[in-house]
Symmetry: C3
Subunit: 320 residues, 3 copies
């Protein structure tokens, strides 16, 4: 996997880190998806590429728990031969900004090459990236971005339709609090897809009109003739905060069931970043419907996309 | 370790997973013990066999804490060259059945080859095994089974007596709640040993008479002329549940001390799955008596047995 | 790194473990620092030495949380090729002495080669070392010692001044409760440095006069013409215990700011074992002053020193 993709390098020179997808150009996105696709094939055939990151240190720095995402990066790093270290830090013991910078100094001193960061505060990975020598990969920060999630979503979609441009993608649910939605909107619009968001007004961000998406407040309109129906997880704390009346009510108006899915195209994909709240934002028969649901494939592409990102960012380090 | 044991393969074809020992035939058990014995030798001489599981992914999926068992499987996997990932999941955040199946889908998508599962609910590993492509190893499920514990116990006994058939093994204590007891009963009776259980009626399972064991309510009778005295850990919550009057009382009637051990054969082995409640189910001098206690050897054989199980199950996967 | 240092071996024969620095001779300390210095160079050039600990098992047994120290040892072990296993044990679930010995038996049985121990009780690593076959490295025990911290501090100082003898080192703050201070005092006095402790009487240990240090109760006197100003972390619980009036008061009398640092030599080093309480024991501008602060370098030398210690102790094991 060490050959080629020269066009990509020209672009990536300016890009030491993967902090978000806002403002990214297709010429930066496509090579990641292409490389990830090759890694997906290698993973299926159980071929590993231990030389790619051999001798490099990857630290998973998680200020928020996320077994799935941490495991996905850990697998990606190990399959490419990195030394992977998990650092879970409870934010309660952290004194905001200053200590985050002390953490950065510590990681530098330990000679960290690749730093995967999840943090409850938007912008924390960007702040760290200014202070560390490592390439920083944002694994989700507050309500900001979760770029590898959007990349794996894009790869999953591309594998089914062959392309992203011209597709209609409906992102449904708690858009306001979702870094997954935000990253997907940036990537999909950059790639020429038509993005719709479907949510009650209480679950839409204020600046939604500047994101280049169509807004729907009803599933019927939002799902009509869509190629992709992407459901978002509803955090239970949204209900206690009064943004949503109840799980039952929410499902009645914004949950995905077979009847609603029938409004989309017959070959529509059903996606969910996981973990699902079955019966809240998605009905079990739809989640498990092999004709439409690509939820497991998203997880599979997740490992492949993370391998591609780690590989590409480590190359850039080696060359500078 | 890649050669031979053809007889075993014929039998193991039907056995993709190691979920329990109930119904297992000696021809399935003996090859595991034989291979484990070779791994025990390799471990002592610090020789590793990194090629055995190279490129394979082993996930330790623990819904219950168990530092010892998790560490034992982690060591076994690493010594055989697997990529080992620890996933600790608190059951509190899990919504029973459905989410367990979503976890299975995730593990499949991540291309897990070997899945070690501990769960508070009996049958959870079996449920997972129906949904994952990985070979599933039950590392303890509720009050059901803990097969690698019984295998390591059997190996430890066999190393001392040379065989299992014809031996008298007394399993003492909280049989009702013990998956260790259950797996041992299945294995030892299958191998031709005479199994006795020694417990107060409140700590015996209802169906004990169908397990092919002799039941004793007093240590004196149960231990008489036994080759092996296997003590079970008394969970402290049994006392608050009123099943046992007090730790002191329990020790007086069902604890193992030197006087009681003298009723067994002079060369009797003292076993305990650990961690011990010294002074509750076992007296310290007995636990530390080098003439009888093989408790540390059980731990050593634990790593070896797990290496053998991982090796054999991965072979089967490679061949199908 | 497998060659030479014969003088060291003669001395190290008696030293299977690294439990503390009290009573250590320069001929035992210098070879560790020398080897660590070579590892520091290798780390900077991203060269690993996987053969050094290949096939050996390193267990990080942490009864107290410490992400930094655990990570440092984990990195050190992995860069040298060991199988590294993290065991975090909450002391709440541990029944003091006896169970610690059962843990030792378990670690032996699992064939642990190198055992890194952190424990809230002084002497716990020493107790373990009597019962395990592994080489034990004390990673901090109660108020006793933290030898690798003092070694990394010494290496950091030596890199700047070329030697340790004749230097004046001021250790400031909560000396009474600090294992870091204790190990540093032993090492630095053994190496011929002049050690001063600067603290209020409530934060000095009773036996301070027997440690061969000069005692100061005011920063002004303690820092005058010092080569090294080593600040200690003030645990917040000291305040609730009434040993210190308040963080603000403490900083006023014993915090390090630029004005006080000016009393030391112009080329004085500022050190801190981390994590810092900025504004409590150290002012941010001083902590970040690149002319004086070597706090990040301490972390870097930490990995190198731990590699050296693991390497040397594993050699000794192989030769006996």
């Amino acid at each position: 996997m060490r050959d080629g993709t020269p066009h990509f390098f020209a672009r990536m020179q300016s890009q030491r880190h993967l902090l978000g997808l806002q403002g990214m150009h297709p010429s930066q996105i496509v090579p990641i998806l292409d490389l990830a696709e090759s890694y997906a094939l290698l993973n299926r055939s159980r071929k590993t590429q231990r030389d790619v990151l051999r001798g490099l240190t990857l630290i998973n720095l998680f200020f928020e728990d996320s077994t799935r995402t941490r495991t996905s990066f850990e697998l990606a790093g190990k399959r490419l031969g990195a030394d992977v270290i998990n650092m879970s830090v409870s934010t309660s013991s952290v004194n905001k900004g200053e200590t985050l910078l002390d953490t950065a100094a510590t990681l530098n001193a330990m000679r960290t090459d690749l730093l995967v960061v999840r943090h409850a505060q938007s912008g924390a990975p960007a702040l760290l990236s200014q202070k560390v020598d490592a390439a920083v990969i944002n694994a989700g920060d507050g309500m900001h971005e979760h770029p590898t999630q959007a990349l794996l979503d894009a790869l999953t979609i591309r594998r089914h339709f062959g392309h992203l441009d011209g597709l209609t993608v409906a992102i449904c649910g708690d858009v306001a609090h979702s870094r997954v939605a935000r990253s997907n909107i940036h990537l999909l619009t950059a790639m020429g897809a038509e993005v719709r968001v479907v949510a009650p007004p209480t679950l839409l961000p204020g600046a939604i009109n500047q994101l280049g998406v169509q807004v729907f407040h009803h599933m019927a309109g939002g799902l009509a003739d869509a190629h992709v129906v992407m459901m978002l997880r509803l955090q239970r704390e949204r209900m206690s905060a009064g943004l949503v009346p109840s799980a039952r009510e929410y499902f009645r108006f914004f949950g995905l069931d077979a009847e609603r899915l029938a409004l989309a195209r017959p070959d529509a994909l059903v996606m969910h970043p996981g973990p699902m709240n079955r019966g809240v934002e998605i009905d079990s028969p739809v989640a498990d419907d092999a004709r439409h649901s690509v939820i497991a494939e998203q997880v599979e592409m997740g490992v492949a996309v993370r391998m591609a990102v780690l590989d590409l960012l480590s190359r850039r380090r080696n060359e500078t």
